[in-house]
């Protein structure tokens, strides 16, 4: 199947408008991630029931849903670490987890995955070296998450929020084209959250695609698009404003509750 996203020429020259017209699937050519009829079972229980969605390039997409709804599972399928039962997940046209994607996708797991028995600097420099970057880029990534001054501290002695930021720095340092962030701002104070979201926005403006899961509705408003999932199915997939309008609610919290409970009655 030829889609715009799988067309190498399109990727190289995103201004080739003509491809839009030729694209019989009607997928915008700036699609970064395509998920089609994704079915995932975990521990014999179905967790994702045939999810389909498109994630646009260079924008921030928020992934929202109640605890246990399958946000982490979907993200794992996108980075290629989840065994999937059926369906298709493509990133830049390649099957998720392909070798050619591994230097382009950065993944920050929900619980920080950094080496506790190394210092912050050693952790970030290690991840930097995997992408052939050096100490300069590592120092910049550490400063970007506000951990400058903690370079020589062992990760095992960091506070929870600091450890989460160290984990984030390890993903930022690779300068990936896609950042998949699983609840990156949990446990952070409003000032830090504001600062990180400013950086997410700057990254998106520079062309990075971000997929961010969150529980905080204030953060949902900062996204360009939202995917709302409940019990493994997509119940809304639109811009935040459109979702609020559809739910006839004036704030995100209410829209979320309305949509979740409306779906609950239907199901």
């Amino acid at each position: 199947m030829i889609t715009a996203a799988s067309c190498a020429r399109c990727l190289a020259r995103p201004n080739l408008i003509i491809h839009l017209a030729l694209n019989f699937e009607g997928i915008a050519m700036d699609t970064a991630i395509e998920v089609d009829d994704l079915v995932v079972e975990r521990g014999k229980h179905p967790v994702l029931h045939g999810i389909s969605t498109r994630i646009q390039r260079g924008v921030i997409t928020g992934l929202l849903g109640p605890s246990g709804s399958g946000k982490t599972t979907l993200m794992r399928a996108i980075v290629g670490s989840q065994v999937v039962k059926a369906g298709d997940v493509r990133v830049f046209g390649y099957p998720a987890g392909s070798a050619s994607l591994r230097h382009r996708v950065g993944y920050v797991t929900q619980s920080p995955s950094v080496y506790g028995d190394l210092t912050v600097g050693e952790n970030v420099r290690y991840f930097a070296s995997l992408y052939k970057y050096g100490a300069t880029e590592a120092a910049a990534a550490i400063a970007n998450v506000g951990l400058d001054g903690h370079e020589d501290q062992m990760v095992s002695t960091l506070s929870g929020g600091q450890r989460a930021r160290a984990s984030l720095a390890c993903a930022l340092v690779g300068q990936p084209d896609i950042l998949v962030l699983d609840e990156p701002t949990v446990g952070l104070d409003p000032v830090l959250r504001e600062e990180l979201w400013r950086q997410f926005r700057a990254l998106a403006e520079a062309g990075t695609t971000l997929l961010v899961s969150s529980h905080v509705m204030d953060e949902a408003n900062r996204c360009d698009r939202l995917i709302l999932i409940r019990e493994g199915s997509v119940i809304a997939d639109d811009a935040p404003g459109a979702i609020k309008t559809a739910a006839d609610a004036d704030d995100m919290d209410k829209a979320f509750l309305t949509l979740i409970s409306a779906q609950g009655e239907k199901g």
């Binding site: 079972e41 975990r42 290629g80 670490s81 987890g97 591994r102 996708v105 995955s113 506790g116 290690y126």
Partner: protein
């Protein structure tokens, strides 16, 4: 596999080890202390001490590296760093070889220190050179690393991982010729000992103990051990899953 990733990962594992001072102290001092214990146990029985100490020079690195590696790999798995690693350009072989090289380096230091003290302080005597003894000890350590990596694929918890130590190490230790010479065993036991890699490294050590220069049997045994290492690493790579349920 790529060279810069292998070098970076090996360096990272060695750095982790360097921060753990107590493990380093245990790694380096423990074999020497245990050999000293044997020295006093076999007070005056030089022949017996020479035989057992020589075998132990090969057995200690094997057991220690088996344990350390399976725990280290399990920690990568449970801390989520393994999952994360597999979303980066790091390949399975990069990771396995990095562990093999990093712990091989640690084992070389350990074997050199232990051999040095065994020869100088405890009066260990072998017909062949101490260098060959260290070489075989390092091969044994790498064997421990390779089997440890393989075992960790079957362990979900630390409890299970430490149980693999007796499961994998004890039969090899019993049947390697330390307690009963292999040809004196019942046929079926000798058969089992013939397929256990530790039997060959112990035989190689005993060759160094008995002959002034390296023998063909010793080299053959060493090659067998290295083949088992490669096979275990390949199996380890096959059991390491990029995607998990």
């Amino acid at each position: 596999m790529s060279a810069h990733i292998l070098v970076a990962t090996t360096g990272r594992i060695l750095r982790q080890l360097r921060h753990d001072r107590r493990t380093i102290a245990l790694l380096i001092l423990m074999p020497t202390l245990l050999l000293t214990l044997l020295y006093f146990m076999y007070d005056g029985q030089e022949q017996a001490f020479n035989r057992i100490a020589l075998i132990m020079l090969g057995v200690f690195p094997f057991i220690m590296m088996l344990l350390i590696t399976s725990i280290a790999m399990l920690r990568e798995r449970t801390s989520g760093t393994l999952e994360r690693m597999f979303t980066t350009p790091v390949g399975k072989l990069d990771l396995l070889f990095a562990y093999g090289i990093a712990f091989g380096v640690a084992a070389t230091v350990q074997a050199a220190v232990t051999a040095l003290l065994a020869y100088w302080l405890l009066g260990l005597e072998t017909a062949g050179s101490a260098g060959l003894v260290v070489l075989i000890a390092v091969a044994n350590a790498v064997l421990g690393v390779a089997l440890g990596l393989l075992c960790s694929a079957f362990a979900r918890t630390e409890f299970q991982a430490v149980q693999f130590m007796p499961v994998v190490a004890a039969p090899q230790l019993f049947l390697c010729g330390l307690f009963v010479a292999r040809p004196d065993m019942a046929g079926w036991l000798e058969g089992i000992s013939n397929v256990m890699p530790l039997s060959y490294s112990v035989e190689a050590l005993m060759e160094v103990g008995a002959h002034p220069s390296a023998t063909g049997t010793m080299w053959r045994d060493l090659i067998i051990v290295l083949c088992v290492v490669v096979a275990a690493l390949a199996l380890g790579a096959a059991t390491l899953r990029r995607r998990t349920p």
